[in-house]
């Protein structure tokens, strides 16, 4: 199943276009309540996709349906060519899942916990022991491999959770709120790890409501609200669509105020000038126009004092989208 229909802007950097996960009109109802409403989602090999949204937006339910842990009310899912509702074992053998607030058997050691998972995966003893060793070493837990997990910190548990994922050498990893509750340093380490896994060709689907972290690692993101994925695409692309141009460039320049303003506005790619006080200009552009802006200021006879760019932030996109959505601007 090769996906040719995705727009180029949303393709991952590697330009690999093999579809590994596809959900079509996926719906889950609990009685009258709709948890997931007509979700369409396609992941290509090697990309990192972030599911964003407030708690209760349907992210976890979506994940459970993708894994075959919950039956969809309607719609279809294909994961690596398998249907999770009919062939969950094939899916679960190839997909690693890290639940939010991952739990272990506290009285067992890290090695014993992983051994159990290896046996559930049907790995032979020798293979299992070797993979456990490798995974534990990689996660930096070799010092504590024989200590009961009850003594582990939250960050260590999280890393043990990833070690467990590595055991089955997955093609897809799904993480539910992976950085929640980690201290900033551990969270950074975790994001670095996600990038490493991506470079190994593993497709990663993660859900989060910590937007700036998602922005740092995701190729594409989807915003979830009330069971629907209301918008999706690469961050820059979303910025383009929602914010009408993503880059805010702040310029400090002295000289002929009016001339500088005209010169800046004349630059191709500039959408508008947000603020133009005495020596302070803020322009909104669809790309990073710092060099052009500097040239324009100098060309208008001004002298450049300061130049800064604010890349589009997901927080802003998110806030703007939901503000406009409630105002009826985007229906």
């Amino acid at each position: 199943m090769v996906d040719k229909s995705t727009k180029p802007a949303s393709a991952p950097p590697q330009a690999a276009t093999e579809t590994v996960l596809q959900a079509v009109n996926l719906t889950k109802r609990y009685g009258a309540a709709v948890a997931v409403d007509n979700l369409n989602l396609t992941l290509t090999r090697g990309e990192v996709f972030g599911m964003l949204g407030p708690n209760g937006a349907g992210k976890t339910t979506t994940i459970l349906m993708l894994l075959g842990l919950t039956e969809p009310t309607a719609g279809a899912v294909r994961v690596l060519g398998f249907d999770p509702a009919r062939d969950p074992l094939a899916v679960k053998a190839r997909v690693g899942y890290l639940p939010d607030s991952v739990g272990f058997y506290d009285e067992l050691s890290a090695r014993e916990n992983l051994s159990y998972i290896a046996r559930l995966n049907g790995l032979a003893y020798a293979t299992a022991q070797q993979r456990i060793r490798t995974a534990i070493d990689r996660m930096g837990l070799s010092e504590v491999i024989d200590r009961p997990v009850g003594t582990f910190s939250r960050g260590m548990r999280q890393r043990l959770g990833v070690a467990e994922l590595l055991l089955k050498e997955p093609e897809i990893i799904i993480m539910d709120e992976p950085t929640l509750g980690l201290d900033p340093e551990a969270a950074q380490g975790f994001l670095k790890l996600i990038r490493e896994l991506k470079h190994e060709g593993i497709t990663i689907l993660l859900s989060s409501h910590l937007l700036h972290q998602v922005q740092a690692v995701c190729d594409r993101v989807g915003l979830f609200s009330h069971g629907r994925m209301v918008i999706s695409g690469a961050v820059a692309e979303l910025a383009q669509r929602i914010l009408g141009g993503g880059y805010r460039i702040v310029i400090e320049a002295s000289g002929d105020h009016r001339a500088i303003q005209t010169a800046l506005l004349a630059l191709p790619g500039v959408k508008k000038i947000e603020a133009a006080e005495r020596d302070h200009f803020v322009i909104v552009a669809d790309r990073d126009l710092r060099a052009d802006a500097a040239a324009a200021v100098v060309g208008a006879g001004g002298s450049l004092i300061g130049l800064d760019v604010e890349a589009p932030s997901l927080d802003e996109i998110y806030a703007t989208y939901f503000k406009e959505a409630t105002n009826g601007a985007i229906a």
Partner: protein, 335 residues
């Protein structure tokens, strides 16, 4: 929805096969059994109960020894006496078992399912390539095997002490009878094990599940007798004092009391361990015609006598497990 990039014309995956799951539901079963048995056998709560039951066995055997040494030569079923004889202040070993076994079974199973939820391991384990069936059955089998292991060890211990104390080996029939007794005891435990699993599926708090299991046990141990006679008096009242009426009331009472696993177990053990028992409940003089009082029944006849009770115990175990299974399959696993 208009903003979604993926709304472009994706073909719906249509080659989904007809209903039915692929792969064996028992994949990973033995991994679960192994892990759970290791947990049970090393857990402190099991060790406490094992010590308790061991002390009981030693106490009961010692008390019986004092009693039966003199009659060794006359009694053909001396080894069975080790299980059934009560001597002040010790009740018979079967009596001990009838309330210790439920306790062990409930202690093993009350946190089987909800414990996985409260440790937040459930979704992680079920994300492995196994079905829920394997998890539930694995936990149940692990409990049953643990129980069998403990009970078999104690059975061997009693037989061993018997051989040492009495100075003669058990005969074949004694071994056969006490083995059937062992099987009945294991399935009596199986009922409480399955009940514990039902409660551990229904209640999210392990403490609630344990209390619910213990209340059912207490209800059947203490209150069921009262409920039985009350119900029998209401359902089959004795109005004129006719023998038929009295008989019918007694029969009703017996039928109701057999709804309790305790009654089934006590009758089953009585039937198989005491060869002289030829009927449970009331015996009419007409049924005793030509019988030699106190003469032992052959093994096959005793087995026939307690067969309904034994199958009742097994059937109740299976039914309760099936209930737990249905409840667990329908449960949402998000936690």
């Amino acid at each position: 929805m208009a903003q979604s990039l993926e709304l472009s014309s994706q073909p719906a995956p249509s080659d989904a096969p007809a209903r039915g799951r692929k792969g064996s539901p028992w994949t990973g079963l033995w991994a679960v059994v192994g892990k759970e048995m290791a947990d049970h056998l090393s857990s402190v709560r099991m060790q406490i109960l094992e010590v308790l039951i061991l002390l009981t066995a030693v106490g009961a055997v010692y008390a019986v020894m004092q009693n039966v040494r003199q009659t060794v030569s006359q009694d053909p079923f001396i080894f069975l006496r080790l299980f059934t004889t009560a001597r002040d202040p010790f009740p018979a070993f079967v009596g001990f078992l009838s309330f210790l076994v439920p306790l062990i079974a409930i202690a093993i199973s009350f946190d089987a399912i909800n414990g996985e939820f409260s440790r937040r391991t459930m979704s992680r384990v079920l994300a492995q390539p196994i079905y829920r069936d394997a998890l539930l059955l694995g936990k149940f089998l692990a409990g049953l095997f643990t129980l069998s292991l403990v009970l078999t060890a104690i059975w061997l211990l009693i037989m061993g002490m018997g051989i040492l104390g009495l100075g003669l080996p058990p005969n074949g029939e004694e071994v056969a009878r006490s083995l059937i007794f062992l099987v009945a005891t294991i399935f009596y435990g199986g009922i409480w094990l399955a009940l514990g699993m039902v409660f551990s599926t229904v209640f999210r708090q392990p403490a609630t599940a344990a209390l619910a299991g213990l209340s059912v046990w207490l209800f059947f141990t203490i209150f069921w007798g009262m409920v039985t006679s009350l119900l029998a008096r209401t359902l089959s009242p004795v109005t004129y004092g006719l023998p038929e009426e009295i008989l019918r009331q007694l029969q009703t009472e017996q039928a109701i009391s057999r709804l309790s696993p305790n009654t089934l177990y006590v009758e089953a053990t009585l039937g198989i361990l005491n060869p002289a028992v030829r009927s449970f409940g009331i015996l009419l003089p007409s049924q005793l015609e030509g019988a030699v009082m106190g003469a032992p029944l052959p093994l096959a006849q005793s087995a026939l006598l307690m067969w309904p009770q034994l199958t009742g115990l097994i059937a109740a175990t299976i039914l309760l497990f099936a209930l737990a299974y249905v409840l667990f399959q329908r449960q949402e696993i998000r936690a």
